[in-house]
């Protein structure tokens, strides 16, 4: 069976033009996807690398069990906790996220996603300054100046350049690449920088200064310094003029900007730069979001609870205070007494102090394959791959929502994240609950 227009549920580029051939419930061919996207599709065949059976820890060891027992144990852990942490969410569907938010609310727990360790600072900056952006098709049709700052899409988002920014022909950019200019700002000459028309090497941790210098020029000030952040004055003025004189400019920025010294202040300053530029021309910006549905989490939590991440439902309503309610802070203060981790591996990626606490408390892990996190969990529930084995919704990095497809069956007995959440919710509520459930979002 050949499927066209399939959506790759790997990175925030969320390519929707993939062709996949499935035979006997095995993916035998993948067209148009990049190397990592292809690998994700093919990995669904390799059941030996998947989690297939629910497990619970007995006498210190994870042993296989029935789904019902695993769900009962998980619900028991969550229900008896005073302040459970529900973490992960960026690599699953909005439907699962929605059910997870309802679960967090029911439990009075804290819910947070990987936003907290990637573009959390961008979100904080948006609170300060707003966010002038556009959809990626606008870039393709109009942009004549494309800047990647602290981002290396050749590796992180391989098809970003060819689908949206540099290579494609657009309505007003009929000749594609030759109608555009690519500028890369980074601390080292990345592979993306190698194909750029201009590479600007900024001193490590001095992005803020460079942005300020650009703003100074854009706003008509005189730059007196010989160089700023390691960039000579002449180059800064040239870049600023390029930005002011283009017809449609776009600033893509990555973790090089959000996670380096200055963090949300960098982004705040960059937003102000883009705003300043709009006095002269059209300019927009776009964070290079990593996980394919990290944006979806903020959207769903935004419309349901009013905040984009790190929400504590302990008071019966949504409380948001990054630095207090963010996953790492809750863990490092030793505040949560149980955790549920879904579609994420904090044991590999969180600071040691957080992991130490995670190891101490009862832990439920839901994932498609084993990870260091599932290894230390007390309950492990396997789940199906959204976008391959189950349907659902995901938001591209520019917030364009797409419907993920199902192209093959999940392994036997393996449920979707959404269904697992729904079943946990039902168990946590118990039969005596008086809450009238809104229609289940099973789609």
């Amino acid at each position: 069976m050949r499927y066209t227009d399939v959506i790759c549920s790997f990175c925030g580029t969320l390519c929707d033009d993939i062709e996949v051939v499935v035979e006997d419930n095995r993916i035998v061919d993948v067209k148009h996807a990049c190397r990592i996207g292809t690998a994700k599709f093919l990995s669904s065949n390799e059941l030996e690398h998947r989690l297939l059976k629910p497990m619970v820890r007995k006498n210190g060891k994870l042993v296989e069990t029935s789904l019902d027992e695993a769900l009962d144990r998980a619900a028991g852990i969550l229900k008896s906790a005073i302040k459970p942490l529900l973490y992960g969410w960026s690599s699953t569907s909005c439907e699962a996220q929605s059910a997870g938010i309802e679960l967090a609310e029911e439990l009075g727990g804290v819910i947070d996603a990987t936003v907290t360790v990637c573009h959390g600072p961008s979100v904080l900056a948006v609170h300060d300054a707003g966010y002038p952006g556009c959809t990626l098709g606008e870039v393709k049709n109009r942009a004549d100046l494309v800047i990647y700052w602290g981002s290396n899409p050749m590796h992180g988002h391989p098809r970003h350049l060819s689908r949206y920014s540099i290579f494609p022909r657009g309505y007003f950019r009929e000749r594609g690449q030759s109608d555009r200019e690519l500028v890369v700002v980074d601390v080292r000459k990345t592979d993306t920088a190698k194909i750029a028309n201009r590479f600007i090497k900024v001193n490590y941790g001095e992005d803020y200064e460079l942005i300020s210098a650009l703003r100074k020029v854009v706003n008509g000030g005189e730059l007196r310094e010989e160089s700023v952040a390691g960039v000579p004055r002449k180059e800064i003025i040239e870049l600023a003029e390029k930005m002011m004189n283009c017809q449609f400019g776009v600033l893509f920025f990555g973790m090089g900007l959000t996670q380096s010294y200055g963090r949300h202040r960098n982004i705040d300053n960059a937003i102000c730069l883009v705003r300043d530029l709009n006095v002269h021309t059209k300019f927009v910006m776009q964070p290079m979001r990593g996980h394919y549905n990290v944006v979806g989490f903020s959207e769903v939590l935004g419309w349901q609870a009013g905040f984009p991440y790190a929400v504590d439902f302990g008071r019966g309503f949504a409380w948001y205070n990054p630095g207090e309610t963010t996953a790492n802070d809750v863990l490092q203060r030793g505040e949560c007494d149980a955790a549920l981790v879904i579609a994420s591996d904090p044991v590999s990626h969180f600071p040691r102090k957080s992991v130490e606490h995670l190891a101490k408390i009862p832990l439920v892990a839901i994932d498609i394959h084993p990870t260091p996190t599932t290894q230390i969990a007390d309950v492990v529930i396997p789940s199906a791959i959204a976008g391959i084995e189950v349907e659902g919704t995901a938001y591209r990095m520019d917030s364009v929502p797409l419907r993920l497809r199902k192209i093959k069956e999940p392994p036997e007995g393996v449920l979707s994240d959404e269904e697992i959440m729904r079943r946990l919710l039902a168990r946590v509520r118990g039969a005596e609950s008086g809450v009238q459930e809104l229609e289940v979002r099973a789609r």
């Binding site: 309802e102 689908r163 309505y171 769903v300 935004g302 419309w303 364009v400």
Partner: protein
């Protein structure tokens, strides 16, 4: 479920019922002549109206959520912990989806249309509508800066434009054609705007005038339930009433295919300004009202301002940028490929500000100068003029000259000097309030089963604890304000959802969308063109664009026979 609402004072303008004391009978979610053994709800001494119908409110979708995410400060206000019935809910000018449903229901509303859905983002809008309980709902669908629309109209191919509009409503699961700053949205793709009906749209060689008249034709060819819903050019600009008057003339471009207007000019308060600078900023509400009074194919909704902190959000990107450059407050923007360019920025309407004070007066002037209340619908363009839950305050202003006078004393004297509000002594009665909050909306939207209480109507009813024989709204305006904020009962599809101002039951409403079909060969021609264009210029494939019905709660297509070929 059978219900009898006994002995209330009924206000049902569509059926000409003006405060008669009567029983309303309900069976199987509909109003019926008579019912046996129904549960009786005693409504004596209470006022009964059809469920409120919201015609223009930004309650769901990308820019609403951008507002929420940009403004955490808005969500520490107005906080409601979860109860045994309701979810945790919060937000003031950008309430969460749950709170939106709860608050509308408490006001006695049973149906709401979100004001501006970009088709590419329609799936998001529907995801949010899905999570708005208590209401039937639908979405006005943005077309005024759509490349296909502009191309087809430019080459004079109205049929193909109509086929496209029909397809787009089906694909986006939309209800009506919305036009926002026609041409200006596209110009904003280059950081520009259009400033008059005859300013050409860059690269598309078409003018706002041609887009509007073209879409009026398209709308009537398709015989859609609603007219085009038009946010005119130059919103919020000093002296913009000239553009507004010119725009009204374009309503004459086609004969209405149904018993309704051909153009609804929306939030016209923002389009009724005279003067030539912010210093001479003045009301031209009277000129606009005069034009509305003299035409039978244009209606307006007000877009009333209420003082306080709010979040402005429109598909009018250049306007939002302009506004944020005046205030210096944070600003979000998202140009949407081939379609539109929404923006969001916070705003504070201050009683000390001459401009805000005039804006406040302009809305009320419009409502009071326009004679037929079916032609002037109550909106705040939520949250642009104010959050929708300020409706009771506006109702009280409309019903009480004294209340207006009291407020006038508190605001900047520009409201007195530069508007006619202080000279108006008209006061709305309950019949007129029922018209501007539900009957007029239902008529404008072509919703035959809403906005009235005749047999066959949806059993959507609001019961307010007001005894019209005892209350004098002109004097007791505080009471009016208080009682319209919390119904005694809100009944939707025959179920009691609110009792004594508290939510007692949470339900999912229906999602209404228009399913209009055109001739097959025309459709084929359209699909060939769409195919070509999507491959080249959209960033998503055509196959992934249409919104699946699974996103809709109780999907309810409204079939329309168009005969377009």
């Amino acid at each position: 479920m059978k219900l009898i609402l006994k002995n209330g004072f009924v206000y049902d303008p569509i059926n000409g019922i003006n405060g008669e004391r009567m029983d309303i009978c309900i069976q199987d979610g509909k109003i019926v002549e008579d019912v046996e053994n129904g549960r009786i709800i005693d409504c004596s001494g209470k006022l009964i109206m059809p469920g409120g119908v919201e015609i223009h409110s930004h309650i769901a979708g990308g820019k609403v959520n951008t507002g929420r995410i940009m403004r955490p400060e808005d969500h520490i206000k107005n906080v409601f912990p979860k109860t045994g019935v309701t979810r945790a809910a919060n937000g003031y000018s950008t309430p969460s989806t749950f709170l939106t449903g709860y608050l509308y229901s408490k006001l006695g509303y049973t149906c709401a249309f979100t004001a501006a859905m970009p088709p590419l983002m329609a799936r998001h809008t529907h995801e949010e509508l899905h999570d708005i309980p208590m209401l039937d709902k639908g979405a006005l669908t943005l077309m005024g800066n759509n490349w296909f629309v502009m191309r087809y109209l430019k080459r004079g191919d109205v049929e193909l434009a109509a086929a496209f509009a029909a397809w787009l409503l089906r694909a986006a699961k939309g209800y009506a054609i919305k036009v926002v700053n026609p041409g200006g949205g596209e110009a904003w793709g280059w950081g520009r705007d259009v400033r008059s009906l005859d300013d050409p749209v860059p690269h598309f060689d078409i003018t706002p005038r041609e887009i509007i008249s073209g879409l009026v034709k398209v709308n009537e060819m398709l015989s859609l339930p609603h007219s085009i819903h038009l946010h005119a050019n130059n919103l919020g600009r000093v002296g913009n009433y000239v553009t507004t008057l010119e725009t009204m003339e374009l309503a004459d471009g086609a004969k209405p295919a149904r018993e309704r207007q051909t153009v609804q000019l929306t939030h016209v308060q923002f389009h009724s300004y005279g003067g030539d600078s912010w210093r001479t900023f003045a009301s031209e509400a009277e000129s606009i009202a005069k034009a509305v009074n003299s035409k039978d194919n244009v209606i307006v909704d007000i877009g009333q301002v209420v003082f306080g902190d709010t979040t402005t959000m429109t598909a009018d990107g250049p306007m939002e940028y302009y506004l944020s450059s005046l205030t210096g407050l944070k600003w979000s923007n998202r140009n949407i490929e081939l379609e539109t360019s929404p923006g969001v920025t916070p705003f504070i309407y201050s009683k000390h500000s001459p401009v805000s004070s005039v804006q406040w007066a302009v809305g009320l002037e419009l409502a009071l100068h326009i004679k037929d209340p079916f032609n002037v619908l109550l909106t705040t363009d939520h949250p642009n003029g104010a959050p929708f839950f300020k409706y009771p305050t506006i109702i009280a202003w409309l019903m009480s000259a004294k209340y207006r006078e009291e407020t006038m004393k508190e605001v900047h004297r520009a409201a007195q000097r530069n508007t006619t509000l202080a000279t108006i002594d008209r006061e709305y009665d309950f019949y007129e309030i029922a018209t501007v909050t539900r009957a007029g909306q239902a008529k404008s939207l072509g919703l035959e089963e809403k906005g009235h209480l005749g047999p066959g109507a949806d059993a959507d009813v609001a019961v307010y604890d007001i005894n019209p024989e005892e209350v004098d709204p002109g004097r007791d305006y505080r009471l009016i304000e208080e009682k319209f904020a919390r119904t005694s009962y809100t009944i939707k599809s025959g179920e009691v959802l609110v009792k004594d101002g508290e939510i007692v039951r949470v339900v999912n409403g229906r999602t209404l969308y228009v399913d209009a079909q055109v001739d097959e060969s025309l459709e084929r021609e359209l699909m060939r063109d769409l195919d070509y264009y999507f491959k080249r210029f959209y960033s998503v494939n055509l196959a992934n664009y249409p919104v699946q019905e699974v996103y809709l709660t109780n999907p309810t297509p409204i079939k329309v026979e168009t005969g377009v070929r």
